[in-house]
Every structure is written in structure tokens, then in C-alpha cells.
Amino acid sequence: MGGGGLTMESLSVRLACGHIVIKDVSLRCERGHITGLIGPNGAGKSSLIKGVLGLLRVSGLLQLDGDNVTEFSSIQRAKKLAYVPQQSRVEGDLMVQQVVDQGRFVHRSPMVRPSRLDREITSRSLEAMGLKLDPMRRFRELSHGEQQRVLLARALATEATTILLDEPTASLDVRQALVLHRHLHSLKVRGYCVVVVLHDLNEVKQLADHVVLLHRGKVERAGTADEVITRQPIIDVYGVELVERGGIVFSLPET
């Protein structure tokens, strides 16, 4: 899975009403990297992700590993791009196993039950997320952290190697967030292209290899976290001073 990834050139994204929310954005999200999308509310981070996923209309160049994403059918897109929302809108009493099974939907005929291979892949995906849950537990009864990991397991079950996450840690406590970071890091090491929308700038510094600062639908700055999260762009975009005083850093225990 070396090289490749998502490439956007002069990409614009518009809402259903026609309003353009992302205008002429060019950026690259490489495989084996975690790309963090940051910016204030309304900057267009989630819209950019939704445009890539085909949920909003786009114009311009959008390629995945050299292939034109806009020419993908919805099935092709689902096999190559996986999505983890901030919070799932799962209705009903779906169980953990049934939610992860949804990741296999695109690989099997609608009339056929999940095969042994499907079961193996979903079990492997749950294991990869370190989840030792009863698969018959109701998804809605899980903690937010467990729900996020189940959704990530569902994304892995699609076998897509590009994963887009929209503020996955927004409602997680510090431990749950760090557990999720560790899983995203392991995906990166395995050559996945990981694109994640984040609000917390400290978290971006810890997690992302490549950071894109969006402002009013345009790329304000892109580069490493140290290159992007600097005084001037932060004042320009967020209207706040950047004060570095060491701060507190958390990490998971070794064992």
C-alpha cells in the first residue's frame, strides 16, 4: 500500500442548495500518514470529507491512488473509502455484530446472509480495535468510546484502505481518545490513508503527521503540525493568541 492516497486539485464542494462551501482546494493525503483537518466552526472540514465521500457535490480533480473518485459508482466508492462519523445515527436495537456486518454489505449479494469469510473479517476488525464485547450487545448501550471503536471496526470490515473520520474524539474522555489514537496509528503503520477532522489543536499535534488548516472553505496553511500551528495563522484563522507553556500531555500506560 505504499505511495498513493487522496489527491485533490482545485476541488470545490457545494451544498444541495448550490452554496459553495469549499472552493479550489488542493491538497494531498498520503498513505501511511494521518492527515488532520483543522479550522474553526464553519471552515468546511466536514463538508470536505462529505464531498470526498460523495455525500455532497464536488467539482475539480479528486483522485484516490490515481483513480478518479468522481467516476466511481457508489459500490466502488464504498469499497475504497470508509467513513466514521462523529456519532452514529444508528436507529433501533441493532447489536454490535449487526453494526459491524454493515461493513460487509458492499461485498455480498443483498439476498445472501453473511458468509464465513464475512464473519472472519468482522471478527478480525473487532479484534483489531481491541474490542472484547459481546457481539450481541446493543450498540446504543455502549459508551461513546466503544461506539467509536465499533464504527471504526465497521470501517475496517469494508476493506477500504482510506478512512475518513469526522471529529471521532469529540465526545470521548482522555483515555478513550488515546485508545482511538493508538488504533489510528496502527492503521497508519499498516499503510492506510487516514484523514481525520479534529477540533483540539493539542490533539492534532499528538496525532497527525500532516495538518491542513482550513478557513472559510480554503486551505490557509498545510504542512507538519509544527509548521501549521504557529502564531500568525492561528491569529488569522481563530482570532486567538497562541501561548505555549509546556502544558499537560497524557499517554496510555505501557501495559
Partner: protein
Amino acid sequence: MSKPRVPIWIVLGLALTLSLVLSMFAGHGDLYDSALWSTFLQLRLYRFFASFLAGGALAVGGVLVQGLFRNPLASPSLIGTSAGATLGGAMVLLVFDIYLVKRVPWLPAELLLPLGCLTGALMALVILLTIAGPQPDRTSLLLIGFILSSLFLSLGGLLSSLAQENWELGRAMLVFTLGGVDAKGARHIALALPMIVGGLIYGLAWASHLDVLLTGDDEASTLGVEIYAVRRWIVIWTAVLTAAAVTLGGNVSFVGLIIPNMLRRYLGPIHRPLLLAAFLGGGCFVAFADVLVRLLPTRGQIPLGVVTSLVGAPIFLRLLMMYTAERERI
């Protein structure tokens, strides 16, 4: 989900057998009279099939619209589809009596009835989707459904009053509006059966799409569900199923709401087993209601729709309270 699956299928099998047996024996007339035996049996068999198929179609339609709106409180009768189909059917009865019966005397009204019901049901769903949007919240859906139902039933009432000059037509329209399967014969069943089988097959074939749709349009779309195709076909098949049910039983309420919700508690939210169970459960429910219609000691027959509403409304209120309590708990 609170109980294992096997007993519910046994319960449904027993309910089917019991409803068939009761349907054969309930009502006026002596089944043991050898001269009338075959006639009674035939009429009651038609009546059983009409009520069973109408109930099955409405329950399957209920599962489909609940999947479409991701809302367990949606059903053809609550969102105005049944009332739309009833209005369409009533218009056909009226137009047929005023205009067609003299000009095209060889054309039976039963042939046109499903077409009128289908047009009415489709019109009701399109109006609902246009006003409410693709994913209305629970309150908006119920409110708009209530308003549409009231509107269509009022228009139906207007047509009925126009038809009162002709006593037979007026009575036929009243029975049609309040629901009932008496006087339904092989021709009605033969017309509705392909519509119902088609709707059931569609539901079973697309059930896994509906399962993924439980996560919402955006997530389902990224998981490979073609939202617009699924939505379009659900609307069409729900209208077809409702039209078939109304053709057979007139306006029979609450079946599409209470049966899927009661079964979901035992079978969970996965659609394929739910659709099959809803077909059987809905069928048995209306067949039992029709037995009740025949057994209740009243001067005339109570309309079928009145019986299903008397049973269904309290269950609906109970379900509404349970869902509200669950929402607050999670």
C-alpha cells in the same frame, strides 16, 4: 429483543391455523347444512383470504415505511397512505357509477379499484415526502400524516355524501371507508394477490438495504446503499401494498403500526425475518378482527376498520409511551 426466535414462528403458525379455523366457523348460517356447505365454505374462505392478505400487506407496508423514515411510529394509516388509497378507491367507485357503468357496461368496478387505490396511495406518499422531506422527525411525520389523513378522509366523506342519492353506491362507499371484507370474491383476491406478493418479494430482496439504512442516509450511502433507488422503490411498493390492502379491505387502520412494532420486540430490527413475520402477523390480526366482526352481538356488522382501531389505538398509545421512555433512558 427479548425472546428467542423459534417460539414466535410457532406462535404465528398457530395463530394462522386458528384464524383459518375460526374464519371457517364464525358467522351466521350452519356450516353443517349439506346444501349450503360448499357455498358457505367458499364465501368464508374468500373472506379469510381477503382479510389475511389485507392485513399482511398493511403490516409489510408498515415495515417498509418504518425503514424508509427510520421511524418505528410510521405506518400507512398514520402517514395518510391508507386514507389516500381509500380516497382514490372511492373516486373510482363514484366515477364508475356516474360515468363508466353506462358507457362501458362490460368493465367491472373491481378491475379499476386497485388502480384508483394505487394512484391515491402514491399521491399521498409523494405529498408527504414533498412537505416533510426525506427524514422528518417523529412529531412532524405524525402531524403531517394526521393532517393528510384528515384531509383525504374528509374528501372521501364529501364523495360519500355526493353518492347518497344512490343507496347502493352510498353504502358501498361507506363500507369501503370504514373497512370490511364482506362481499370480496375471487376476482378481488386475484387482482390484489400479485401486488402483495410483489411487495413482499421486493421487501425481502431489499431487506439488507433497509438494515443498513438504519444508520441514516449519510452512513448508509458511504456503506454502498443507493439511497435514492431504495427510497423510490420503497415508496412505490408501499403504495402498491397499501392499494392492494385497501382494494381488499377498505380503510383498515393501525395494522401497519402495531404488528411490526410488536414483532420487532421479539425479532429485533433486522428486516428479512421481520417482513415475513409481519406478513403472517398482520394477516392473522385482521383475520381475527374479521372473526370478531362476525361474532360481536350487534344489530348490524361493525366495520372491520372500527374493530382494528379499537384494538390498535390503545396498543399504539402504549408503544408511544414505551418509545418515549426508552428515548429518555438512553
